[in-house]
């Protein structure tokens, strides 16, 4: 028994050390966001806290605009991925047809091309057809980022739902569409929530596409945040405040759905 306690202690210690590594930079970020620019380069924990960085960010109004832009393109991309991805994952799981594995792999392969490889041709095309610096232009490339992960996670989910249940409901006179909405959708909800959150994180934070495919009209927070550093004076405090505000929606979302998050990923993909 005593040996067990010692082992548990060391396990806790290891976990604690990792947590320190994972969380300290975030704590430091919070501290920086309350520091004056002049205190930035002192590494003490004692200083006069200030809300100035937050005030500056909100006062010129542009950051709120970037935030809304980010919200529009990210949620647009995720919505689009859900609308086309859920049926696609369903088809890949339920039907046995020619080229199924090849098609599944092709969806995955949309993520193989490095972003800066495709971004230049996309840039040229977008300027031709007028999608450069538009909401839809970004939504369209972003859903290419989110769809593969979503399809691959949801596919395992659909495979877990027994087809007999689906048939029984059809026998009872429900149309295929009703069965899909009323029975299948609730069953895959945890997986959908979890994969949507993971994709949202990738899309929300994307840098390359937002930097090169959008400019004045549509600007995402990641690009804007780097901007706080590239002007002649480096404003780490404002960047930190901006980072925290921009990470807030996802952190709140993650906390709100944390029950779904782990359970949601677990059910599907394991038993496949």
């Amino acid at each position: 028994m005593k040996r067990n306690k010692i082992i548990e202690f060391f396990k806790d210690l290891a976990l604690f050390l990792y947590a320190l590594f994972a969380l300290f930079p975030l704590v430091w970020l919070v501290i920086i966001s309350f520091k004056h620019d002049r205190d930035m380069f002192t590494t003490t924990f004692i200083f006069n806290p200030t809300l100035e960085n937050y005030k500056i960010i909100f006062s010129d109004g542009s950051f709120i605009g970037y935030f809304i832009d980010n919200l529009i393109v990210s949620s647009g991309a995720i919505a689009l991925s859900v609308i086309v991805g859920v049926p696609a994952a369903y088809a890949l799981a339920r039907f046995n047809f020619k080229g199924r594995e090849t098609i599944a792999f092709t969806f995955l392969s949309f993520r193989f091309a490095p972003e800066i490889f495709v971004v230049l041709p996309i840039f040229l095309i977008y300027q031709q057809i007028g999608l450069y610096d538009t909401y839809f232009g970004l939504i369209w490339v972003f859903q290419v980022l989110s769809l593969p992960l979503m399809i691959w996670i949801l596919r395992g989910y659909f495979e877990d739902i027994s087809v007999e249940m689906e048939h029984a409901a059809r026998m009872d006179g429900y149309t295929w569409w009703q069965v899909f909405l009323k029975m299948i959708m609730p069953l895959i909800k945890p997986g959908l929530v979890a994969s949507a959150l993971l994709s949202l994180i990738f899309v929300w934070n994307n840098f390359t596409f937002s930097l090169l495919l959008a400019g004045q009209d549509v600007m995402t927070t990641t690009v804007a945040m780097v901007g706080y550093l590239s002007s002649d004076t480096v404003h780490y405090g404002q960047m930190a405040a901006a980072v925290l505000i921009s990470a807030l929606p996802i952190i709140i979302l993650a906390l709100a759905i944390q029950k779904h998050l782990v359970r949601g990923l677990s059910m599907g993909a394991v038993k496949g």
Binding site: T43, T106, F107, A113, P114
Partner: protein, 321 residues
């Protein structure tokens, strides 16, 4: 980017991982409308994503030209872009760095991810309260995470450098020194992406059946024995998805290295994407830069292809088919 077209007809689908759907699949005469249904359902997703093939195709075509941002016209130059980079030492250096970076990052994140996920999968206060908190670093954009670490490791004012000095290490220069630059980017990469492995592995662990583990405990199997023979094979499908996505994305990693050192010091961190970027934007030679990307794409494609194959096999084994 898409799998070769001829595979569509030659490969008999669905041999792998057959789903329990006899009624749809085993009928002898299937009406055409039913046969087409899966393709119709897949259609929208395919149409929406397949557009990405156009820029991809354009990029491949440009890689055979001398397209340059400096001149409006361009000519086809055949394979000479490729022949040129195969002969340059900097190309082979980038290949080496790319694989070293991706391999080490994936290895570290996988091992750490499994370890931490197992530690989190216990029912005590520490584990329960950290379960959600530990994924927070994943929420920070990689390029921003890099800036935070840059501030913390800054030689004169960074808090980590200061702490190192306090314990007597004065000569550690983090990203500024060729011998520790790779180490520094790996720390940042691990900081951002280990949580990704943690969530997926944790999800796998949470769905394990209890019975086999109880009998292993009664039989007195050691912890290592249980892990090697029970836990690991059972979480393998989930673990492989995590490894696949990590390997795929770290082969292409651009943000962290670019934000931290722009590939320096010297060429220590010049991976393929960075080399291509500088070729395109500093030297304005798009045609000469694209072969790096085409080759990188081939690497990613081949690696992922074998991983997916292995994944389908493991998946079948894990579900006992």
């Amino acid at each position: 980017m898409a799998a070769p077209e001829k595979k569509l007809s030659s490969e008999h689908a669905g041999r792998l991982n057959e789903p329990p759907v006899p009624s749809y699949t085993k009928e002898h005469k299937i009406p055409l409308s039913k046969k087409l249904r899966p393709y119709l359902i897949l259609g929208p997703a395919f149409l929406l994503t397949v557009g990405i093939l156009i820029p991809f195709g354009m990029a491949v075509i440009f890689s055979f030209t001398n397209y340059s941002f400096q001149y409006p016209s361009y000519n086809f130059v055949g394979l000479s872009n490729y022949l040129y980079i195969f002969q340059s030492a900097s190309f082979w250096q980038s290949v080496k760095v790319t694989f070293m970076y991706a391999g080490l990052a994936t290895l570290i994140e996988t091992l750490l991810g499994i370890g931490i996920a197992m530690l989190l999968n216990r029912e005590n206060l520490l584990a329960r309260s950290l379960r959600i908190v530990l994924i927070f670093p994943l929420v920070i954009a990689p390029v921003i995470a890099t800036l935070i670490w840059q501030l913390m490791t800054n030689n004169s004012v960074g808090i980590l450098s200061k702490w190192l000095r306090m314990i007597g290490i004065t000569e550690f220069k983090w990203a500024a020194d060729p011998s520790s630059a790779l180490f520094t980017v790996l720390i940042i990469d691990a900081w951002v992406f280990t949580p990704f492995v943690i969530i997926l592995v944790l999800a796998g662990l949470r769905s394990l059946p209890k019975a086999p583990f109880e009998s292993a405990m009664i039989d007195g199997g050691s912890a290592w024995f249980t892990f090697k023979n029970l836990t690991l094979p059972m979480i393998m499908p989930m673990l492989l998805i995590a490894i696949l996505f990590r390997l795929m994305l770290s082969l292409q990693m651009f943000d962290i290295i670019f934000a931290l050192t722009r590939g320096g010091p010297g060429d220590t961190l010049m991976t393929l994407p960075l080399t291509a970027y500088f070729e395109a934007f500093s030297y304005k030679e798009l045609g000469a830069s694209l072969p790096y990307m085409v080759i990188l794409w081939v690497f990613v494609y081949v690696v992922s292809h074998y991983m997916v194959k292995y994944w389908t096999r493991t998946q079948r084994r894990a579900s006992g088919k």
